[in-house]
């Protein structure tokens, strides 16, 4: 390896070393920075961006912490643990530390309160925004998951994101050695009906090792033991801490008592500790209760029932790669033994890709959060440039003071140290304010409703984040203070001390620096603005996507008729399709009789919800093998009318399309195909019959012959940003009633609050014991699918707005200042007969040049960075020329205005006044 010039990392680290005394830097600073550079490279290779984040955070804290400690120990040798009789000889003690400067610094900052306040506010904005996002990144991405040895935990899926069947899981459990323990869970709904209002609970059915894999322990009572999973064991349940507090007020007597879940009496075994979070809980949807899942029950032994989410702890000595190899071998065996359910459509085995739990939980939000962190980083840089410019301008005013101090014997290092102390002190004050801003902003996230980001609910500003803020503020202070400080220290003493003389060389140098700060500010602000513009634009497009329904005046209500349990707790009402269909008909009839209701219909699960709405199957035209995968939705008559879907051809379902259930029960898996009336969506119609002649044609699935009676415009079932899909709508009766889920949509011209109350009454008039979740509007449902993009675009827009303000004020103040500096020159020119117009042109021309330079750098930067936004935007290119042009024009206009006003002031001045003032 040959010696290369120090990397950026090394140089940054060296500037951090300013925290250490100069003597330390001189003797081993270079060595330390070099070692850091190599660590930095190692870390990048080993752990990528995340590793670097951790390294930098640790290094910043350590260098500043230990550096100040070293200074302290040297300053007060009598208190230091390790005495050195020599080290203090060169300088008197008060010259060594930062502390003795403090009084001087406070005096000097208080002398120019407007300047200080301005700088503090700007730093507070930058540090506050950065701290806010950092606290989210820290909590969501960097903090280990709340389990013992979380790095050993892995999850896996079947193929891409599929759940496992129970036999799959049992095979893996029995035939692999890679896991020290292995568990799985599946969630469902249960109704709690023993006391008070009936309540819908979410339940996790878990296998025996679930709690031990996660290292959970009870707050009261006990968790499951092996005996609880035996066939015929007493029905038991473990309750989540949240539900315990909410429903039973934390009463320990709950343990051992009986509750009624889905009509069955179940004994409460114990309550989990408050800090327990299941993997579901990490995503903000903690389950309410947990019940044992007996995997040996005969009704679960279907390989086509994909249900379980597994979680395992790697055995000692096993690595992700070795475990994966073992799983791959097993997957291939399973594909041979069970070709129907363990091979994909192309005949390849379904593998079980292992993913570390941490990645499975937060992997999808890592990129957006790092992009946001990058965006606030840009904002902080803009703030630094802005404050550095203020300092440079002030440096000119303080030239004489500094010259006087150096004439009296202060060395260059001493003056740099003095000025740096000032800037760091200012930055720390700004940082304190910024921490306050961060605390408030994180509270505001609750308002934004940042769903979709796991672990978001427990983001707090704690000591870790505060340490980061302190380190960041210090670094900020060094960053914006260093260049102006070095600049000031170069002042030519003689020239500066001469009354009224302009220090031409230093002045020109300083102007150049100021100009480059302005260019940097414009460039950075433009990059942020373009990013925000793209996201905002994409968000508008997302909102204007046609959902395929007319959501105004539609209210939705979710019900569940009996248990989705394949017979194991099907003891209550609604154990047959006939009972469910009867209930559905009675309820819809009651609702349709309401005065303001125009239409009411039902399906299994309404569009724009989470989770399964329907089932997918292969469909092909009769007599053809050209099949595509389509979603099957069972719907009642008047369902499409209630949603306000758009009929393209034919008709919607009518009551006459519904059929009575077959006496044997049975579901979608019947052996022989049945002919049903179907409405298909436009995409499916165009896929098979591009020429448009669709009505009366037939499609085949394994269980049905779909006789097409109508075509409907595409409905975006899975959210506005979901790609186009193929849908077929079947009569609700009989097959929709196979499933217990029932969602009702009602179109009504009445007040939605009254309607919601009336709907619950309608349910209870048909069945007084049925729990009803609060009805909600279709508009709420649709906007629920875009909260995450809305959150990101709002946040970026807020950063960009701040950046915009900072850049504009930076340009304005810089121009104002340079015009002020040139007042005398401009006055002379005017007196000598220069045209005001040409003076204006001269001043504005310089501003135009700087703006143009900044814009071109910014456009280049935005172009180079555009790819990081790829996964954020919808329906728009990340190099969308319209956005680039519009945002550049906006910034250019504001920059021009910021130049024009000072220029007009300068040109409008009375030359006599100006010259007299000298």
């Amino acid at each position: 390896m040959t010696r290369t010039s120090p990397s950026l990392a090394e140089r940054l680290y060296r500037s951090l070393l300013l925290a250490y005394p100069a003597e330390f830097r001189r003797t081993v600073g270079c060595e330390a920075a070099h070692a850091f550079g190599r660590l930095h490279r190692d870390e990048w290779r080993a752990a990528g961006l995340k590793g670097l984040m951790v390294l930098w955070r640790r290094s910043v804290l350590h260098v500043i912490g230990y550096g100040l400690k070293e200074r302290w120990e040297r300053r007060r040798p009598s208190l230091g643990r390790h005495q050195d009789p020599h080290h203090n000889r060169q300088r008197p003690p008060q010259m060594l530390g930062l502390v003795p400067n403090f009084r001087y610094v406070v005096r000097s900052l208080a002398r120019t309160p407007a300047f200080s306040l301005m700088a503090i506010l700007i730093v507070a904005l930058g540090v506050g925004a950065t701290t806010t996002i950092y606290s989210v990144v820290d909590n969501v991405l960097l903090r280990p998951l709340p389990y013992p040895d979380p790095q050993e935990l892995v999850m896996f899926t079947k193929g891409e994101g599929g759940s496992l069947s129970i036999p799959d899981f049992r095979d893996i459990y029995d035939q692999t050695d890679a896991f020290a323990s292995l568990a799985a869970w599946t969630d469902a709904d249960l109704d709690l009906t023993n006391e008070g209002i009936p309540e819908r609970l979410t339940v996790g059915r878990v296998t025996a090792e679930f709690f031990s894999v996660l290292g959970a322990s009870p707050a009261v009572g006990r968790l499951f033991t092996a005996g609880d999973f035996a066939p015929g064991a007493n029905k038991v349940v473990v309750v989540d801490h949240g539900l315990w507090q909410r429903r039973w007020g934390g009463d320990p007597a709950l343990v051992g008592s009986a509750v009624i879940l889905d009509g069955e009496t179940v004994t409460v075994l114990g309550v989990l500790k408050r800090d327990f979070q299941s993997p579901e809980g990490l995503t903000g949807n903690e389950l309410d209760v947990w019940v044992p899942f007996d995997l040996t029950a005969p009704e679960w032994q279907h390989r086509n029932l994909w249900l379980l989410s597994p979680i395992g702890r790697l055995a000692p000595g096993a690595t992700l790669a070795s475990a994966q190899a073992e799983m791959d071998a097993l997957a291939e065996t399973l594909a041979v033994d069970h070709p129907v359910n363990n091979r994909d459509r192309d005949g390849r085995a379904f593998y079980f890709p292992l993913v570390p739990l941490h990645e499975a939980m937060v992997g999808s939000v890592a990129q957006p959060l790092y992009v946001l962190l990058g965006a606030v980083g840009l904002l902080l840089l803009i703030a630094c440039a802005n404050v550095a410019n203020l300092f440079l301008a002030r440096g000119t005013d303080r030239e004489r003071e500094i010259a006087l101090r150096s004439a009296l014997g202060a060395g260059r290092g001493r003056i740099v140290q003095q000025l740096l102390t000032e800037s760091v002190a200012l930055a720390l004050l700004g940082g304190a304010l910024g921490a306050g801003i961060a605390v408030v902003s994180i509270r505001m996230f609750g308002v934004f409703d940042a769903v979709g980001i796991p672990r978001m609910s427990d983001v707090v500003v704690d000591w870790r984040v505060l340490l980061f803020t302190v380190a960041l503020s210090t670094l900020t202070g060094v960053l914006f203070g260093l260049i102006p400080a070095l600049q000031s220290a170069q002042t030519d003493i003689c020239a500066a001390l001469q009354e009224g003389a302009q220090n031409a060389t230093a002045g020109r140098h300083r102007a150049k620096l100021r100009n480059s700060f302005v260019v940097a500010e414009i460039a950075l602000a433009l990059m942020l603005l373009i990013g925000a513009g793209l996201l905002f634009n994409s968000f508008l497009r997302l909102r204007s996507v046609d959902p395929g329904v007319d959501p105004d005046d539609v209210t939705v209500m979710s019900l569940r008729l009996g248990a989705f349990d394949f017979g194991s707790i099907a003891s209550g009402r609604y154990s047959t399709e006939g009972e469910r269909i009867q209930f559905t008909n009675d309820l819809l009839e009651t609702i349709r009789a309401f005065p303001n209701v125009q239409a009411a219909g039902a399906t299994m699960r309404m569009p724009f919800g989470s989770g399964r709405c329907c089932w997918a199957t292969d469909v092909a035209p009769s007599g053809s093998e050209d099949s595509v995968m389509a979603w099957m939705h069972p719907v009642t008559s008047a369902f499409m009318e209630a949603l306000g879907a758009t009929l393209v051809a034919g008709r919607f379902h009518v009551q006459g399309d519904m059929a009575a259930p077959a006496p044997s029960g049975g579901g979608a898996d019947d052996d022989q195909q049945r002919t049903v009336a179907a409405v298909i969506n436009r995409s499916l119609a165009e896929r098979h019959w591009p020429d448009g002649d669709v009505l009366g044609r037939e499609l085949h699935t394994r269980s049905y012959i779909l006789s097409i009676v109508g075509v409907v415009d595409d409905i975006r079932h899975f959210g506005l940003d979901s790609p186009e899909q193929f849908d077929a709508y079947l009569p609700y009766a009989p097959d929709g009633a196979f499933f217990p889920m029932l969602d009702v949509a009602v179109r009504s011209s009445g007040d939605s609050d009254n309607l919601a109350a009336a709907l619950r009454q309608a349910v209870w008039s048909v069945d007084p014991e049925l729990p009803v979740s609060p009805p909600h509007t279709m508009n709420d449902r649709i906007s629920g699918t875009i909260t995450t993009p809305r959150f990101y675009s709002m946040l970026l827009a807020a950063f960009a707005a701040v950046a915009f303000l900072l850049a504009a004020s930076g340009i304005a103040s810089s121009m104002l200042y340079s015009v002020g500096q040139r007042q005398r020159e401009l006055g002379i020119r005017l007196a000598l007969g220069a045209q005001r117009r040409s003076l204006m042109r001269m001043v504005v021309g310089k501003g135009v040049l700087l703006t143009a330079l900044g814009l071109s750098v910014g456009i280049g930067g935005a172009f180079a960075l555009s790819r990081v936004l790829d996964s954020f935007v919808f329906g728009i290119s990340t190099t969308d020329p319209m956005t680039f042009v519009a945002v550049s024009l906006l910034l250019a206009t504001v920059a021009m205005l910021a130049c024009y006003l000072p220029a007009r002031k300068a040109a409008g001045a009375d030359p006599l006044e100006v010259l007299r003032a000298e």
């Binding site: 390896m1 330390f24 850091f36 230990y66």
Partner: protein
């Protein structure tokens, strides 16, 4: 050596332990300490040099020439080695720790199957 015989602070112990294998430069020390402790202890470079400077003053460590200048770069680096005093201290500390570990094992604080899998 103002504290001869007293326990050595854990960082110094790790540094001396690493250097007992032979002279190293700063980066080498950082990597070796991380390796010795399964990545649990990761010195910040500046803090490592801070410790080294102090240990030089205490006479536990000395600067030395590169053992085998085989590359342009490493030749320029400062190498550090254990002094005799340092070797004595690290040995004393190791014996002390060993004694304490034996007590812990007798009291069944360390599982018998402690061997790494």
């Amino acid at each position: 050596m103002e504290y001869a015989g007293s326990p050595l602070n854990p960082r110094d112990y790790l540094i001396l332990l690493s250097l007992s294998e032979g002279p190293r430069h700063g980066y080498g020390l950082l990597k070796d300490v991380a390796r010795l402790t399964d990545n649990e202890v990761r010195f910040d470079p500046a803090n490592l040099y801070r410790s080294l400077k102090r240990m030089i003053k205490q006479g536990l460590v000395s600067e030395t020439a590169a053992p085998e200048p085989n590359s342009d770069e490493d030749e320029r680096r400062r190498y550090y080695a254990v002094t005799e005093a340092g070797a004595g201290r690290v040995q004393a500390e190791a014996v002390r720790l060993d004694r304490l570990t034996r007590v812990a094992r007798e009291r069944r604080l360390i599982p018998d199957s402690e061997a790494p899998a």
